[in-house]
Protein backbone atom coordinates (compact mmCIF):
# COMPACT_ATOMS: atom_id res chain seq x y z
CA UNK A 1 0.00 0.00 0.00
CA UNK A 2 1.52 3.31 -0.98
CA UNK A 3 2.14 5.70 1.84
CA UNK A 4 -0.32 8.58 2.22
CA UNK A 5 1.13 11.73 0.76
CA UNK A 6 0.07 13.58 3.90
CA UNK A 7 2.46 11.45 5.90
CA UNK A 8 5.42 12.22 3.71
CA UNK A 9 7.70 14.90 5.10
CA UNK A 10 9.07 16.91 2.27
CA UNK A 11 12.51 18.19 3.04
CA UNK A 12 14.10 21.08 1.22
CA UNK A 13 17.85 20.85 0.87
CA UNK A 14 19.03 23.87 2.85
CA UNK A 15 20.57 26.65 0.80
CA UNK A 16 24.26 26.98 1.44
CA UNK A 17 25.37 30.35 2.73
CA UNK A 18 28.42 32.37 1.81
CA UNK A 19 30.75 30.82 4.37
CA UNK A 20 29.70 27.29 3.50
CA UNK A 21 30.37 28.01 -0.15
CA UNK A 22 33.96 28.94 0.71
CA UNK A 23 34.60 25.66 2.60
CA UNK A 24 36.97 27.38 5.04
CA UNK A 25 34.80 27.66 8.20
CA UNK A 26 33.81 24.02 7.91
CA UNK A 27 37.45 23.01 7.54
CA UNK A 28 38.45 25.12 10.55
CA UNK A 29 35.60 23.66 12.60
CA UNK A 30 36.68 20.17 11.59
CA UNK A 31 40.30 20.87 12.47
CA UNK A 32 39.17 22.15 15.85
CA UNK A 33 37.31 18.93 16.50
CA UNK A 34 40.24 16.72 15.56
CA UNK A 35 42.70 18.90 17.44
CA UNK A 36 40.54 18.82 20.53
CA UNK A 37 40.98 15.06 20.60
CA UNK A 38 44.75 15.54 20.53
CA UNK A 39 44.78 18.18 23.25
CA UNK A 40 42.21 16.45 25.44
CA UNK A 41 43.56 13.01 24.85
CA UNK A 42 41.57 10.35 26.67
CA UNK A 43 42.23 6.96 25.13
CA UNK A 44 39.93 4.10 26.02
CA UNK A 45 42.37 1.43 24.90
CA UNK A 46 43.08 -1.44 27.25
CA UNK A 47 46.71 -2.53 27.11
CA UNK A 48 45.66 -6.13 26.79
CA UNK A 49 48.46 -8.48 27.73
CA UNK A 50 49.43 -6.30 30.69
CA UNK A 51 45.92 -5.23 31.55
CA UNK A 52 43.43 -8.09 31.60
CA UNK A 53 39.77 -7.39 31.05
CA UNK A 54 37.36 -8.11 33.90
CA UNK A 55 34.93 -10.52 32.34
CA UNK A 56 31.31 -10.91 33.39
CA UNK A 57 30.58 -13.70 35.86
CA UNK A 58 28.83 -15.83 33.30
CA UNK A 59 31.63 -15.70 30.73
CA UNK A 60 32.01 -18.96 28.86
CA UNK A 61 35.61 -19.96 28.18
CA UNK A 62 37.62 -23.16 28.04
CA UNK A 63 36.03 -26.24 29.59
CA UNK A 64 37.20 -28.19 32.60
CA UNK A 65 36.32 -31.59 33.96
CA UNK A 66 35.60 -31.33 37.68
CA UNK A 67 36.99 -33.69 40.27
CA UNK A 68 35.11 -34.93 43.29
CA UNK A 69 36.46 -34.80 46.87
CA UNK A 70 38.61 -37.87 46.29
CA UNK A 71 40.22 -36.32 43.24
CA UNK A 72 38.49 -38.66 40.81
CA UNK A 73 36.91 -37.45 37.64
CA UNK A 74 33.29 -36.62 38.37
CA UNK A 75 32.09 -37.56 34.94
CA UNK A 76 30.01 -40.71 34.75
CA UNK A 77 30.20 -41.01 30.96
CA UNK A 78 26.47 -40.58 30.48
CA UNK A 79 26.97 -38.93 27.09
CA UNK A 80 24.41 -36.22 27.78
CA UNK A 81 26.93 -33.45 27.03
CA UNK A 82 28.07 -35.13 23.83
CA UNK A 83 24.45 -35.47 22.81
CA UNK A 84 23.59 -31.90 23.66
CA UNK A 85 26.63 -30.46 21.94
CA UNK A 86 25.50 -28.62 18.79
CA UNK A 87 29.03 -28.45 17.45
CA UNK A 88 29.65 -32.13 17.97
CA UNK A 89 32.98 -31.51 19.62
CA UNK A 90 32.83 -33.89 22.60
CA UNK A 91 33.85 -37.50 22.13
CA UNK A 92 33.56 -39.80 25.11
CA UNK A 93 34.53 -43.43 25.35
CA UNK A 94 32.86 -44.98 28.36
CA UNK A 95 34.30 -47.90 30.29
CA UNK A 96 33.15 -49.86 33.29
CA UNK A 97 34.09 -48.06 36.46
CA UNK A 98 36.87 -49.74 38.44
CA UNK A 99 35.59 -51.92 41.31
CA UNK A 100 36.97 -49.53 43.93
CA UNK A 101 34.53 -46.86 42.66
CA UNK A 102 31.28 -48.33 43.93
CA UNK A 103 29.28 -45.16 43.41
CA UNK A 104 29.06 -45.40 39.64
CA UNK A 105 28.77 -47.82 36.81
CA UNK A 106 30.81 -46.08 34.17
CA UNK A 107 33.60 -43.59 33.87
CA UNK A 108 35.12 -41.93 30.80
CA UNK A 109 38.06 -43.95 29.58
CA UNK A 110 38.71 -41.13 27.17
CA UNK A 111 37.12 -37.72 27.08
CA UNK A 112 38.21 -35.68 24.08
CA UNK A 113 36.99 -32.16 23.55
CA UNK A 114 37.98 -30.22 20.44
CA UNK A 115 38.35 -26.65 21.66
CA UNK A 116 38.54 -25.40 18.08
CA UNK A 117 35.24 -26.96 17.11
CA UNK A 118 33.48 -25.80 20.24
CA UNK A 119 31.23 -22.77 19.93
CA UNK A 120 31.24 -22.14 23.71
CA UNK A 121 27.45 -22.23 23.99
CA UNK A 122 27.53 -23.86 27.43
CA UNK A 123 24.94 -26.50 26.59
CA UNK A 124 27.22 -29.29 27.82
CA UNK A 125 27.34 -27.62 31.20
CA UNK A 126 23.57 -27.33 31.17
CA UNK A 127 23.12 -30.95 30.21
CA UNK A 128 25.51 -32.48 32.71
CA UNK A 129 23.57 -34.21 35.51
CA UNK A 130 26.57 -34.46 37.84
CA UNK A 131 28.14 -31.05 37.30
CA UNK A 132 31.23 -32.63 35.84
CA UNK A 133 31.85 -30.31 32.89
CA UNK A 134 32.00 -26.58 33.40
CA UNK A 135 33.15 -23.58 31.42
CA UNK A 136 35.84 -21.39 32.91
CA UNK A 137 37.10 -17.87 32.42
CA UNK A 138 40.10 -18.93 30.37
CA UNK A 139 39.83 -17.38 26.91
CA UNK A 140 43.40 -16.98 25.69
CA UNK A 141 44.25 -20.46 24.58
CA UNK A 142 46.78 -20.85 21.82
CA UNK A 143 48.51 -23.69 20.13
CA UNK A 144 50.91 -24.29 17.29
CA UNK A 145 48.92 -27.09 15.73
CA UNK A 146 45.27 -27.95 15.66
CA UNK A 147 45.97 -31.15 17.55
CA UNK A 148 47.34 -29.21 20.49
CA UNK A 149 43.90 -27.75 21.07
CA UNK A 150 42.09 -31.07 21.07
CA UNK A 151 42.02 -31.60 24.84
CA UNK A 152 41.89 -35.03 26.38
CA UNK A 153 40.66 -36.03 29.82
CA UNK A 154 43.87 -35.27 31.66
CA UNK A 155 44.19 -31.83 30.11
CA UNK A 156 40.61 -30.99 30.99
CA UNK A 157 41.20 -32.21 34.56
CA UNK A 158 44.35 -30.11 34.78
CA UNK A 159 42.31 -27.06 33.84
CA UNK A 160 40.13 -27.85 36.85
CA UNK A 161 43.23 -27.98 39.05
CA UNK A 162 44.32 -24.65 37.60
CA UNK A 163 41.02 -22.83 38.02
CA UNK A 164 39.27 -24.32 41.05
CA UNK A 165 40.80 -21.79 43.46
CA UNK A 166 40.07 -18.83 41.23
CA UNK A 167 37.18 -16.83 42.75
CA UNK A 168 35.89 -16.12 39.28
CA UNK A 169 35.61 -19.80 38.47
CA UNK A 170 33.77 -21.28 41.44
CA UNK A 171 32.70 -24.88 41.28
CA UNK A 172 29.11 -24.27 40.32
CA UNK A 173 27.39 -27.34 41.59
CA UNK A 174 23.65 -27.03 41.86
CA UNK A 175 23.74 -28.78 45.24
CA UNK A 176 26.28 -26.51 46.83
CA UNK A 177 28.99 -29.08 47.25
CA UNK A 178 30.64 -31.77 45.21
CA UNK A 179 29.87 -35.31 46.05
CA UNK A 180 30.17 -38.72 44.49
CA UNK A 181 27.98 -39.26 41.51
CA UNK A 182 25.80 -41.76 43.36
CA UNK A 183 24.69 -39.01 45.76
CA UNK A 184 22.28 -37.87 43.08
CA UNK A 185 19.14 -39.76 43.85
CA UNK A 186 17.09 -37.64 41.50
CA UNK A 187 18.29 -35.41 38.72
CA UNK A 188 18.49 -31.75 39.67
CA UNK A 189 16.29 -29.40 37.70
CA UNK A 190 18.13 -27.79 34.86
CA UNK A 191 19.21 -24.35 35.92
CA UNK A 192 20.92 -21.70 33.84
CA UNK A 193 24.13 -22.96 32.36
CA UNK A 194 26.15 -20.73 34.55
CA UNK A 195 25.23 -19.05 37.80
CA UNK A 196 24.51 -15.44 37.00
CA UNK A 197 24.43 -12.86 39.80
CA UNK A 198 21.05 -11.19 40.01
CA UNK A 199 22.62 -7.79 39.44
CA UNK A 200 23.82 -8.62 35.98
CA UNK A 201 21.78 -7.83 32.91
CA UNK A 202 21.83 -11.42 31.73
CA UNK A 203 19.97 -12.49 34.87
CA UNK A 204 16.86 -10.60 33.83
CA UNK A 205 14.96 -12.73 31.41
CA UNK A 206 13.27 -11.10 28.49
CA UNK A 207 9.82 -12.03 27.31
CA UNK A 208 9.68 -13.19 23.72
CA UNK A 209 9.43 -10.32 21.30
CA UNK A 210 10.17 -7.73 23.96
CA UNK A 211 13.44 -5.88 23.94
CA UNK A 212 14.65 -5.19 27.44
CA UNK A 213 13.70 -6.66 30.81
CA UNK A 214 10.34 -8.29 31.11
CA UNK A 215 8.13 -6.16 33.40
CA UNK A 216 6.80 -9.23 35.18
CA UNK A 217 10.26 -10.47 36.00
CA UNK A 218 11.14 -7.06 37.35
CA UNK A 219 8.07 -7.03 39.59
CA UNK A 220 8.97 -10.43 40.96
CA UNK A 221 12.34 -9.17 42.17
Amino acid sequence: MPIDSQQVTWVEEPDIGFWEATFLPAIVAGLKTTLRHVTEYKPVTKQYPEEKPSLPEHYRGVHRLNRDEQGRVKCVACMLCATACPANCIHIEAADAPPEWPDRDKFPASFVLDELRCIYCGMCEEACPVDAIELTHIYDLTGRTRNELVYDREQLLSIFDKTKDNPRDPVRTHRGKLGPAAAFKELPTVGPATAVPAAERAAVATAPGVIGPDPQTLQGQ
Binding site: P2, V8, W10, E12, I27, G30, H37, V38, P43, T45
Partner: protein
Protein backbone atom coordinates in the same frame (compact mmCIF):
# COMPACT_ATOMS: atom_id res chain seq x y z
CA UNK B 1 88.76 19.79 1.25
CA UNK B 2 90.47 19.21 -2.08
CA UNK B 3 92.78 21.57 -3.90
CA UNK B 4 91.04 21.12 -7.21
CA UNK B 5 87.85 23.23 -7.11
CA UNK B 6 86.08 20.87 -9.49
CA UNK B 7 86.84 17.86 -7.30
CA UNK B 8 85.88 19.84 -4.23
CA UNK B 9 82.54 20.82 -5.69
CA UNK B 10 81.93 17.21 -6.67
CA UNK B 11 82.71 16.00 -3.17
CA UNK B 12 80.44 18.62 -1.60
CA UNK B 13 77.63 17.73 -3.98
CA UNK B 14 77.96 14.04 -3.25
CA UNK B 15 78.02 14.73 0.47
CA UNK B 16 74.90 16.89 0.17
CA UNK B 17 73.11 14.25 -1.86
CA UNK B 18 73.95 11.60 0.71
CA UNK B 19 72.80 13.87 3.53
CA UNK B 20 69.56 14.76 1.76
CA UNK B 21 68.80 11.18 0.79
CA UNK B 22 69.43 9.94 4.29
CA UNK B 23 67.53 12.85 5.76
CA UNK B 24 64.52 12.38 3.54
CA UNK B 25 64.33 8.62 3.99
CA UNK B 26 64.72 8.96 7.75
CA UNK B 27 62.15 11.71 7.87
CA UNK B 28 59.76 9.67 5.73
CA UNK B 29 59.84 6.72 8.09
CA UNK B 30 59.34 8.91 11.11
CA UNK B 31 56.59 10.87 9.36
CA UNK B 32 54.75 7.59 8.94
CA UNK B 33 55.12 7.00 12.68
CA UNK B 34 53.99 10.57 13.37
CA UNK B 35 50.99 10.11 11.14
CA UNK B 36 50.04 6.87 12.84
CA UNK B 37 50.45 8.42 16.27
CA UNK B 38 48.60 11.58 15.32
CA UNK B 39 45.71 9.67 13.81
CA UNK B 40 45.60 7.51 16.92
CA UNK B 41 45.44 10.54 19.17
CA UNK B 42 42.67 12.08 17.11
CA UNK B 43 40.67 8.89 17.33
CA UNK B 44 41.33 8.41 21.07
CA UNK B 45 43.52 5.41 20.40
CA UNK B 46 47.05 4.72 21.57
CA UNK B 47 48.77 3.98 18.29
CA UNK B 48 51.98 1.98 17.88
CA UNK B 49 53.54 1.62 21.33
CA UNK B 50 55.14 -1.79 21.40
CA UNK B 51 58.48 -1.33 19.65
CA UNK B 52 60.71 0.75 21.87
CA UNK B 53 59.46 3.44 24.25
CA UNK B 54 56.30 5.05 22.85
CA UNK B 55 56.86 3.05 19.69
CA UNK B 56 59.82 5.12 18.50
CA UNK B 57 61.47 2.10 16.94
CA UNK B 58 58.32 1.23 14.98
CA UNK B 59 59.66 2.64 11.68
CA UNK B 60 62.67 0.32 11.93
CA UNK B 61 60.40 -2.63 12.55
CA UNK B 62 58.25 -1.53 9.62
CA UNK B 63 61.30 -1.24 7.40
CA UNK B 64 62.57 -4.70 8.36
CA UNK B 65 59.13 -6.11 7.73
CA UNK B 66 58.90 -4.45 4.32
CA UNK B 67 62.29 -5.84 3.35
CA UNK B 68 61.69 -9.35 4.63
CA UNK B 69 58.15 -9.89 3.45
CA UNK B 70 57.55 -11.99 0.40
CA UNK B 71 57.76 -9.85 -2.69
CA UNK B 72 54.91 -11.14 -4.81
CA UNK B 73 54.99 -10.45 -8.52
CA UNK B 74 51.68 -11.76 -9.86
CA UNK B 75 51.78 -13.86 -13.01
CA UNK B 76 49.54 -11.65 -15.07
CA UNK B 77 51.46 -8.39 -14.75
CA UNK B 78 53.67 -6.62 -17.25
CA UNK B 79 56.89 -7.38 -15.40
CA UNK B 80 59.10 -4.57 -16.62
CA UNK B 81 56.62 -1.77 -16.04
CA UNK B 82 55.47 -3.36 -12.82
CA UNK B 83 58.97 -3.17 -11.39
CA UNK B 84 59.84 0.20 -12.89
CA UNK B 85 56.69 1.97 -11.67
CA UNK B 86 57.54 2.30 -7.94
CA UNK B 87 61.08 3.37 -8.75
CA UNK B 88 59.76 6.14 -11.00
CA UNK B 89 57.52 7.25 -8.20
CA UNK B 90 60.43 7.59 -5.76
CA UNK B 91 63.01 8.78 -8.25
CA UNK B 92 61.00 11.71 -9.58
CA UNK B 93 59.91 12.99 -6.20
CA UNK B 94 63.50 12.77 -4.96
CA UNK B 95 64.74 14.52 -8.06
CA UNK B 96 62.39 17.41 -7.44
CA UNK B 97 64.04 18.01 -4.11
CA UNK B 98 67.36 18.79 -5.78
CA UNK B 99 66.47 22.44 -6.43
CA UNK B 100 64.76 23.10 -3.11
CA UNK B 101 66.95 25.15 -0.75
CA UNK B 102 66.65 23.50 2.64
CA UNK B 103 68.73 26.01 4.55
CA UNK B 104 70.55 29.33 4.21
CA UNK B 105 72.47 28.63 1.00
CA UNK B 106 74.90 31.56 1.32
CA UNK B 107 75.88 30.72 4.88
CA UNK B 108 76.41 27.01 4.46
CA UNK B 109 79.55 25.45 5.96
CA UNK B 110 82.12 24.67 3.31
CA UNK B 111 81.59 20.92 3.48
CA UNK B 112 77.87 21.10 2.88
CA UNK B 113 75.56 22.95 0.56
CA UNK B 114 71.96 23.61 1.44
CA UNK B 115 70.76 22.88 -2.04
CA UNK B 116 71.83 20.06 -4.29
CA UNK B 117 71.68 22.01 -7.55
CA UNK B 118 72.40 25.67 -6.78
CA UNK B 119 71.60 28.63 -9.01
CA UNK B 120 68.98 26.85 -11.03
CA UNK B 121 67.14 29.70 -12.72
CA UNK B 122 64.40 27.37 -13.83
CA UNK B 123 63.91 26.04 -10.31
CA UNK B 124 60.13 26.18 -10.13
CA UNK B 125 59.60 24.96 -13.67
CA UNK B 126 61.99 22.10 -12.99
CA UNK B 127 60.07 21.09 -9.86
CA UNK B 128 56.72 21.11 -11.61
CA UNK B 129 58.09 19.32 -14.64
CA UNK B 130 59.65 16.58 -12.54
CA UNK B 131 56.95 16.13 -9.92
CA UNK B 132 54.27 15.78 -12.53
CA UNK B 133 56.31 12.90 -13.91
CA UNK B 134 55.66 11.15 -10.61
CA UNK B 135 52.18 10.37 -11.80
CA UNK B 136 53.77 8.08 -14.39
CA UNK B 137 54.74 5.84 -11.50
CA UNK B 138 51.12 5.60 -10.48
CA UNK B 139 49.75 5.24 -14.01
CA UNK B 140 52.29 2.61 -15.04
CA UNK B 141 51.89 0.77 -11.76
CA UNK B 142 48.13 0.63 -12.12
CA UNK B 143 48.32 -0.31 -15.77
CA UNK B 144 51.01 -2.95 -15.44
CA UNK B 145 49.14 -4.61 -12.58
CA UNK B 146 46.57 -5.81 -15.11
CA UNK B 147 43.85 -5.34 -12.54
CA UNK B 148 40.69 -3.36 -13.15
CA UNK B 149 40.78 -1.63 -9.78
CA UNK B 150 44.40 -0.64 -10.23
CA UNK B 151 43.70 0.64 -13.71
CA UNK B 152 40.73 2.68 -12.48
CA UNK B 153 42.88 4.10 -9.70
CA UNK B 154 45.59 5.15 -12.08
CA UNK B 155 43.06 6.62 -14.52
CA UNK B 156 41.70 8.73 -11.70
CA UNK B 157 45.20 9.70 -10.66
CA UNK B 158 46.11 10.85 -14.14
CA UNK B 159 42.94 12.91 -14.55
CA UNK B 160 43.41 14.42 -11.13
CA UNK B 161 47.07 15.27 -11.46
CA UNK B 162 46.64 16.75 -14.92
CA UNK B 163 43.82 18.95 -13.63
CA UNK B 164 45.56 20.13 -10.49
CA UNK B 165 48.82 20.78 -12.31
CA UNK B 166 47.22 23.90 -13.79
CA UNK B 167 46.18 25.72 -10.60
CA UNK B 168 49.42 24.58 -8.99
CA UNK B 169 51.57 26.22 -11.62
CA UNK B 170 49.29 29.21 -12.07
CA UNK B 171 49.21 30.07 -8.37
CA UNK B 172 52.99 30.30 -8.34
CA UNK B 173 53.05 32.45 -11.46
CA UNK B 174 52.06 35.49 -9.41
CA UNK B 175 55.01 35.01 -7.08
CA UNK B 176 57.35 34.44 -9.98
CA UNK B 177 56.14 37.73 -11.48
CA UNK B 178 56.56 39.59 -8.19
CA UNK B 179 60.12 38.35 -7.73
CA UNK B 180 60.96 38.44 -11.42
CA UNK B 181 62.58 35.02 -11.22
CA UNK B 182 61.87 31.31 -11.06
CA UNK B 183 64.93 30.72 -8.90
CA UNK B 184 63.90 29.46 -5.49
CA UNK B 185 67.03 30.74 -3.75
CA UNK B 186 66.50 34.27 -5.03
CA UNK B 187 62.85 34.17 -4.02
CA UNK B 188 63.85 33.10 -0.53
CA UNK B 189 66.58 35.71 -0.07
CA UNK B 190 64.27 38.41 -1.47
CA UNK B 191 61.65 37.61 1.15
CA UNK B 192 64.21 37.35 3.94
CA UNK B 193 65.77 40.68 2.97
CA UNK B 194 62.51 42.58 3.38
CA UNK B 195 61.67 41.17 6.80
CA UNK B 196 58.60 39.43 8.08
CA UNK B 197 56.34 41.74 6.05
CA UNK B 198 58.14 40.54 2.95
CA UNK B 199 56.73 37.02 3.24
CA UNK B 200 54.70 36.28 0.16
CA UNK B 201 51.75 35.03 2.17
CA UNK B 202 50.79 38.64 2.98
CA UNK B 203 50.57 39.59 -0.69
CA UNK B 204 49.44 36.30 -2.13
CA UNK B 205 47.21 34.66 0.49
CA UNK B 206 44.84 33.33 -2.14
CA UNK B 207 47.70 31.93 -4.19
CA UNK B 208 48.99 30.26 -1.03
CA UNK B 209 45.64 28.63 -0.43
CA UNK B 210 45.36 27.47 -4.03
CA UNK B 211 48.93 26.21 -4.04
CA UNK B 212 48.44 24.28 -0.82
CA UNK B 213 45.19 22.72 -2.04
CA UNK B 214 46.57 21.82 -5.43
CA UNK B 215 49.75 20.44 -3.89
CA UNK B 216 47.70 18.21 -1.61
CA UNK B 217 45.91 16.93 -4.68
CA UNK B 218 49.20 16.47 -6.54
CA UNK B 219 50.63 14.30 -3.80
CA UNK B 220 47.47 12.16 -3.73
CA UNK B 221 46.86 12.84 -0.07
CA UNK B 222 43.48 12.89 1.55
CA UNK B 223 41.02 14.51 0.90
CA UNK B 224 42.22 14.05 -2.68
CA UNK B 225 43.37 10.42 -2.57
CA UNK B 226 40.83 9.23 -5.12
CA UNK B 227 43.53 7.11 -6.74
CA UNK B 228 43.74 4.76 -3.76
CA UNK B 229 40.27 5.11 -2.40
CA UNK B 230 39.84 1.90 -0.43
CA UNK B 231 36.07 1.81 -0.32
CA UNK B 232 35.72 1.81 -4.08
CA UNK B 233 38.98 0.52 -5.48
CA UNK B 234 40.35 -2.04 -3.00
CA UNK B 235 43.77 -0.39 -2.82
CA UNK B 236 43.73 1.59 -6.04
CA UNK B 237 46.91 1.60 -8.07
CA UNK B 238 48.91 -0.33 -5.46
CA UNK B 239 46.46 -3.23 -5.07
CA UNK B 240 48.87 -5.73 -6.59
CA UNK B 241 52.01 -4.44 -4.91
CA UNK B 242 53.62 -5.96 -1.88
CA UNK B 243 56.66 -5.60 0.37
CA UNK B 244 59.31 -3.05 -0.63
CA UNK B 245 57.65 -2.07 -3.90
CA UNK B 246 54.57 -1.07 -1.96
CA UNK B 247 56.77 0.82 0.47
CA UNK B 248 58.47 2.66 -2.39
CA UNK B 249 55.13 4.14 -3.47
CA UNK B 250 54.64 5.47 0.01
CA UNK B 251 58.17 6.77 0.32
CA UNK B 252 57.38 8.59 -2.92
CA UNK B 253 54.17 10.00 -1.49
CA UNK B 254 55.81 11.17 1.72
CA UNK B 255 58.76 12.64 -0.16
CA UNK B 256 56.23 14.54 -2.22
CA UNK B 257 54.62 15.83 0.95
CA UNK B 258 58.02 16.90 2.28
CA UNK B 259 58.92 18.67 -0.97
CA UNK B 260 55.54 20.36 -1.06
CA UNK B 261 55.89 21.52 2.52
CA UNK B 262 59.34 22.90 1.75
CA UNK B 263 57.88 24.74 -1.24
CA UNK B 264 55.06 26.21 0.84
CA UNK B 265 57.55 27.35 3.47
CA UNK B 266 60.06 28.72 0.98
CA UNK B 267 57.60 30.36 -1.40
CA UNK B 268 55.05 31.76 1.03
CA UNK B 269 56.48 31.81 4.53
CA UNK B 270 59.94 33.25 4.02
CA UNK B 271 61.92 30.02 4.15
CA UNK B 272 64.47 30.15 6.95
CA UNK B 273 63.60 33.75 7.82
CA UNK B 274 62.15 34.47 11.22
CA UNK B 275 62.09 37.85 12.97
CA UNK B 276 64.99 38.51 15.37
CA UNK B 277 66.52 35.06 15.50
CA UNK B 278 67.01 34.34 11.80
CA UNK B 279 67.17 37.60 9.86
CA UNK B 280 68.94 37.90 6.55
CA UNK B 281 71.65 39.94 8.28
CA UNK B 282 72.17 37.70 11.28
CA UNK B 283 75.63 36.20 10.93
CA UNK B 284 76.42 35.07 14.46
CA UNK B 285 78.19 31.76 14.92
CA UNK B 286 75.82 28.94 14.27
CA UNK B 287 73.32 31.17 12.52
CA UNK B 288 73.07 28.64 9.72
CA UNK B 289 72.01 25.96 12.17
CA UNK B 290 69.31 28.22 13.63
CA UNK B 291 68.05 29.04 10.15
CA UNK B 292 68.05 25.37 9.27
CA UNK B 293 65.98 24.66 12.37
CA UNK B 294 63.57 27.52 11.63
CA UNK B 295 62.95 26.17 8.14
CA UNK B 296 62.61 22.64 9.51
CA UNK B 297 60.07 23.86 12.06
CA UNK B 298 58.02 25.61 9.37
CA UNK B 299 58.11 22.50 7.20
CA UNK B 300 57.12 20.31 10.12
CA UNK B 301 54.17 22.57 10.92
CA UNK B 302 53.06 22.36 7.31
CA UNK B 303 53.36 18.56 7.31
CA UNK B 304 51.39 18.32 10.55
CA UNK B 305 48.69 20.49 8.99
CA UNK B 306 48.57 18.13 6.01
CA UNK B 307 48.17 15.20 8.37
CA UNK B 308 45.52 16.97 10.43
CA UNK B 309 43.60 17.69 7.25
CA UNK B 310 43.91 14.07 6.23
CA UNK B 311 42.04 12.91 9.32
CA UNK B 312 39.59 15.81 9.30
CA UNK B 313 38.13 16.20 5.85
CA UNK B 314 36.24 13.41 4.15
CA UNK B 315 37.27 12.40 0.67
CA UNK B 316 35.82 14.34 -2.27
CA UNK B 317 33.58 12.73 -4.82
CA UNK B 318 35.33 12.57 -8.17
CA UNK B 319 33.10 15.12 -9.90
CA UNK B 320 33.49 17.44 -6.90
CA UNK B 321 37.22 17.01 -7.17
CA UNK B 322 37.23 17.94 -10.84
CA UNK B 323 34.74 20.74 -10.19
CA UNK B 324 37.00 22.21 -7.55
CA UNK B 325 39.96 22.24 -9.91
CA UNK B 326 38.30 23.45 -13.08
CA UNK B 327 35.51 25.68 -11.77
CA UNK B 328 37.13 27.18 -8.70
CA UNK B 329 40.90 26.92 -8.46
CA UNK B 330 41.83 27.56 -12.08
CA UNK B 331 39.64 30.70 -12.53
CA UNK B 332 40.81 32.02 -9.17
CA UNK B 333 44.45 31.39 -10.00
CA UNK B 334 44.01 33.06 -13.38
CA UNK B 335 42.35 36.10 -11.82
CA UNK B 336 45.17 36.25 -9.30
CA UNK B 337 47.78 36.29 -12.05
CA UNK B 338 45.91 39.09 -13.81
CA UNK B 339 45.77 41.00 -10.54
CA UNK B 340 49.54 40.67 -10.04
CA UNK B 341 50.12 41.80 -13.64
CA UNK B 342 47.93 44.89 -13.11
CA UNK B 343 49.64 45.81 -9.87
CA UNK B 344 53.08 45.43 -11.41
CA UNK B 345 52.16 47.22 -14.63
CA UNK B 346 50.61 50.25 -12.97
CA UNK B 347 53.09 50.30 -10.11
CA UNK B 348 50.49 50.17 -7.35
CA UNK B 349 51.32 49.33 -3.77
CA UNK B 350 51.72 45.61 -3.12
CA UNK B 351 49.03 45.80 -0.47
CA UNK B 352 46.49 46.03 -3.28
CA UNK B 353 47.37 42.41 -3.92
CA UNK B 354 46.19 41.49 -0.44
CA UNK B 355 42.95 43.43 -0.87
CA UNK B 356 42.50 41.93 -4.34
CA UNK B 357 43.03 38.40 -3.03
CA UNK B 358 40.41 38.90 -0.34
CA UNK B 359 38.02 40.36 -2.92
CA UNK B 360 38.57 37.43 -5.24
CA UNK B 361 37.93 35.03 -2.38
CA UNK B 362 34.67 36.79 -1.51
CA UNK B 363 33.64 36.82 -5.17
CA UNK B 364 34.28 33.09 -5.37
CA UNK B 365 32.11 32.55 -2.31
CA UNK B 366 29.27 34.65 -3.67
CA UNK B 367 29.40 32.89 -7.03
CA UNK B 368 29.43 29.58 -5.21
CA UNK B 369 26.28 30.49 -3.27
CA UNK B 370 24.46 31.61 -6.40
CA UNK B 371 25.56 28.64 -8.44
CA UNK B 372 24.23 26.28 -5.82
CA UNK B 373 20.85 28.06 -5.91
CA UNK B 374 20.52 27.95 -9.67
CA UNK B 375 19.24 25.13 -11.75
CA UNK B 376 22.65 24.61 -13.33
CA UNK B 377 23.72 22.36 -10.50
CA UNK B 378 20.65 20.19 -11.09
CA UNK B 379 19.33 20.58 -7.58
CA UNK B 380 16.06 18.85 -6.84
CA UNK B 381 13.90 18.08 -3.88
CA UNK B 382 15.24 15.48 -1.54
CA UNK B 383 12.64 13.03 -0.40
CA UNK B 384 12.69 12.13 3.23
CA UNK B 385 11.28 8.64 2.89
CA UNK B 386 12.15 5.73 0.72
CA UNK B 387 8.70 5.86 -0.85
CA UNK B 388 8.01 7.92 -3.87
CA UNK B 389 4.28 8.60 -3.74
CA UNK B 390 2.36 8.83 -6.95
CA UNK B 391 0.57 11.91 -5.66
CA UNK B 392 2.67 15.06 -5.75
CA UNK B 393 2.89 16.96 -2.45
CA UNK B 394 0.39 19.65 -1.54
Amino acid sequence: MFDDPGLNSLAVTLLTIVAVLGGILGTCTYLILLERKLSAWMQDRVGPNRVGPFGVLQPIADGIKFLLKEDVIPDHVDKVLYIVAPTISVFTTMLAFSVVPFGPVDQAPEWLRFIIAPNMDLGLVFIFAVTSLAVYGIILGGWASNNKYSALGSLRASAQVVSYEIPLGMSILGIALLHGTMNLETMLTDQAASGVMGWNIWYQPLAGLIFFTAALAESNRLPFDLAECEQELVGGFHTEYSSMKFALFFIGEYTHVITTSFLVSVLFFGGWHFPYIAEASSAYAGAWAVKLLVLAAKVLLCIVLVMLLRWTIPRFRFDQLMGLAWKVLIPLALANVVLVMCVLQFGWSHWWLTAGSVLLFIAAGVIGVNASRSEIMGRHQVRATGFSPAVPPG
